[in-house]
Subunit: 397 residues, 2 copies
C-alpha cells in the first residue's frame, strides 16, 4: 500500500490519517514558546519518568471524568500511564498477558493492526459472536465459552479486546447494555479474564458523546481487570504520538510498565509537556469542538457520494457513524475485496485505495467488506475517490 | 531510587541524565517556528512512517560518515531506522533474535537497563572475558565458545552486545584491534552470530572522537550481521527520545521493523522533524562542540574532587574517561556497594545516590564497583556530592 501511495494521482481512502487542514500547529507553537521560556526549568527537554508526566496523567483522568457517568471514577494515578500512542499499551498488554498459542477474543470486525500483532505473537484469535442487530450475541458467546471449557482450552483465554466507541473499522460503539451483560458473564467465571477497552476514537464524536460509560465506571465491572486505552494525539496531532492507559488492576499496570521500562523507559517527555500545556490551558476541548464539525462534514460528503453512486441499490450497505474516521461497507456476499482480488486490482487501476475488510476480521473469514476513511482527503477529493471506488464496486456487484 | 530522589537535599550521582543547563531550548524553538510556518504542509504533525523520516535517516548516515574511516560506508536507507531512543532497538532486537533460555554475551560491566531487560526475557547472560588491561581476553573467550559447543549450548547463543564508545557505565571504548580480532573469531564460526554495537555516547567525546571505526566499516566484519545503534537525543535533548539504528542485515532490520509496527508503527514524526531541521541547518554539530567542553569540565570537577578526597590512597581506582557521562570506580575487594548493603544505606544517610556496580555486571558477581554520573548536577553540587560519597567510601575501605 505504501508503494501504491507513490503512484501519481492515487487517492487514498485507506490510511487512518487525520486531516492536515485541522492540525493545530498554532496551539503547538504557542505551547512550545511557553515551554521554551528562558526563565523556565527546561525540564521538558530532559528525560521524564517511565509512567509519564504527573500533570498529563491528571489531565487524562480529568478528561475522562468530563463524560456523563464517569465523574466519580476513582483511580490512583499510579494506575494511569502515558504511552507511545495507545498502540503501545496494546502491545505491552499482549506481551505481559499471553504466551504463544494463547487465545484472545476480539470483535468482528476489529482493529487490523492489533490482529496483525496477535498473529505475529502466534496467538489464536476468536471473534465475539454478534447478532444481526450488531449487539453481542450472548447466547452464542456463552456456548463458545462452554466449548472452550469442554475442550480444556479455557485456561488459554488471556484477554478480550473491545473497542468501546466509534470503532476502527466499523465506527460502531458498544452499548451500555452489552457492556453490563458482558461484565455479569465475566463475573460468573472462576478466573478473571482481563479486558482491554480501546477508546481511541471516543473524543472524535460528531454531535454528541456516545452515551455509554466506560467499563471503568460500570458497577457490573467493579473488581474485574480492565485496561482502558486512549490517545491524546489522534484527535490533536498524530505526529506527537502520545497515548494513555487506565487500569483497574495495579498488577497489570505494573507489569506493563516493567516492559515499557525495557522498551523506552518513558514516552518522549517533550511531546507530553506540549499536550499537558494545551490541556491545562483548556485549549484541547476547544480544538476538539472545532474538528468534530469538520469530520462530520467530511463523513457526510463521503456518505452522500456513495449514496448517489447507487451502491446501496446494488447490495452494498453501511451505517452512518456518529463519530470516528471510517465508513464500513459490506458488499454482496460474492464480492471479494481482499488484497489479491481483482476488485483490489481494479481499484488500483482506478487509482483509489481502501482497506480490505478481511484484514479486520479474525481469520479473514469474510471478504466482502471494505473500510473507507474520510480522515485525510479534502472534501473535493473525497467525492472523486468515492466515485472511483463506486465505479469498481458497481462493476463487481 | 525514585523515592530517594524526593528526599530534600538528596544529591544524585546516579541517574544518567544530561545537564539541563545546556539543553538547546533555543534551537528547538527555532526549529518549531520554522516547522509551524503557516504556509508549510504541517506534515510533521501527522503520522510518519514506521521506519522513520527519510531526511532524518539520511542525516543519521551523514553524521556517521563524518567519523574518520567511515566516509565510504555504503548502506541502503532501508537498513537505517528511527526508533524511540536507541533503547527501543535493543528491545526489538532481543525480541526478534531470542527465545527464553537463549544466551547473550555482554561486556563486563554492561548497560544495566539492558541486563535488566535480558533478565526480564529469561535470557542467560554471559560476560566476555577481559584481561587486566581491559582488552578482550580472546583466549578465554575462545575457551568459553568451545565449552558451549561441547555442552551443546552453542546454538543457544543469539547475540553479542558491545558498547563501542565511552560505554555506560565503564566509559571504556572498544579498540579497533579488539573489534578486528572479534570479527575474525566470529567469521570462523559456522553460524553467524548477530552483534549489536551500541554507540549511544560516541558523539559525546571531550577532545577527540575515539579513533576506532564502527563494526559497520571494518573489513573483518564484512558480511556479518551487525546492528549499530545510536541516539540523536542523549547529546541534544533527552526529552525528544529519538534514536536510530543501522543494520548490515536486511533481514534483521525487517524483523525489527515488523515488531516496531506492532508497538507504535513509527516514532513521533514531530520530534523527528525537529531533529531533521536542526541537523540540516548544521546546528547539531555546533551544539555538540559546545557541550563537549561543558561535560569535560564537569568530569574534571568530579574526578578532582574524588582524587582530593584521598580515595585512591584507600584502594579505589578509576580511569579518566575521554567522553561519556560516567566515572566507573572500583573499590577494595571487600567493599560491598550493592543496593541492600550498609554502604548504600550510609550513602542514603549522607544524602548522595550512585548506581551500584553489581547491577551492571552479569550475575552481579562483583559488588565493589560504583557508577557515578557527572551529567546532571551543576559543578558546585558535584563537588559536594563527591565529598559525601567519598566520606562513606573512606569509612568502608
Amino acid at each position: 500500500m505504501a508503494d501504491a501511495l507513490n503512484i501519481p494521482g492515487m487517492l487514498s481512502l485507506a490510511a487512518g490519517f487525520t486531516d492536515n487542514a485541522v492540525l493545530p500547529s498554532e496551539l503547538i507553537l504557542e505551547a512550545m514558546s511557553a515551554l521554551c521560556d528562558p526563565t523556565g526549568s527546561k525540564e521538558c527537554f530532559q528525560y521524564g519518568t517511565n509512567i509519564g508526566r504527573f500533570g498529563l496523567r491528571e489531565e487524562a483522568l480529568r478528561l475522562l471524568k468530563t463524560y456523563p457517568g464517569e465523574e466519580r471514577l476513582d483511580l490512583p494515578l499510579s494506575q494511569v500511564a502515558i504511552t507511545n500512542g495507545s498502540q503501545q499499551v496494546l502491545y505491552l498488554s499482549a506481551q505481559v498477558l499471553c504466551d504463544e498459542g494463547d487465545i484472545v477474543f476480539v470483535e468482528d470486525p476489529s482493529y487490523f493492526v492489533l490482529l496483525e500483532m496477535l498473529r505475529g505473537m502466534n496467538l489464536r484469535v476468536l471473534s465475539i459472536p454478534r447478532s444481526e442487530s450488531g449487539a453481542i450475541d450472548f447466547e452464542a458467546l456463552e456456548t463458545l465459552f462452554s466449548e472452550l471449557k469442554v475442550a480444556g482450552e479455557w485456561h488459554r483465554v488471556k484477554f478480550i479486546y473491545l473497542i468501546g466507541y466509534f470503532a476502527n473499522p466499523s465506527s460502531r460503539s458498544l452499548s451500555e447494555e452489552d457492556k453490563r451483560r458482558l461484565g455479569l458473564l465475566l463475573r460468573a467465571q472462576k478466573r478473571p479474564i482481563p479486558v482491554i477497552e480501546d477508546a481511541a476514537y471516543r473524543n472524535l464524536y460528531f454531535d454528541q458523546a456516545y452515551p455509554a460509560r466506560s467499563l471503568l465506571s460500570l458497577p457490573e465491572w467493579a473488581g474485574l481487570p480492565v485496561m482502558y486505552t486512549g490517545t491524546f494525539t489522534k484527535p490533536f496531532a498524530t505526529g506527537l504520538k502520545v497515548g494513555y492507559a487506565f487500569s483497574t488492576s495495579a498488577e497489570w499496570m505494573q507489569n506493563v510498565l516493567c516492559v515499557k521500562g525495557h522498551q523506552d523507559f518513558g514516552t518522549a517527555n517533550f511531546a507530553q509537556a506540549i499536550l499537558e500545556h494545551v490541556l491545562k490551558a483548556d485549549l484541547y476541548l476547544t480544538h476538539l469542538r472545532r474538528i468534530r464539525v469538520h469530520y462530520k462534514g467530511k463523513m457526510e460528503v463521503l456518505h452522500r457520494a456513495l449514496v448517489n453512486s447507487g451502491l446501496m441499490e446494488h447490495g452494498w450497505s453501511w451505517s452512518v457513524p456518529g463519530g470516528g474516521l471510517y465508513l464500513w461497507l459490506t458488499g454482496p456476499d460474492h464480492v471479494d475485496t481482499s488484497l489479491p482480488s481483482n476488485f483490489c486490482k481494479a481499484c488500483l487501476d482506478e487509482k483509489v485505495l481502501y482497506v480490505p475488510g478481511d484484514l479486520c476480521i479474525a481469520g479473514g473469514v469474510r471478504k466482502n467488506c471494505v473500510r473507507l476513511s474520510f480522515g485525510a482527503l479534502p472534501e473535493s477529493l473525497l467525492e472523486e475517490a468515492a466515485a472511483r471506488f463506486a465505479a469498481v464496486a458497481l462493476r463487481f456487484s
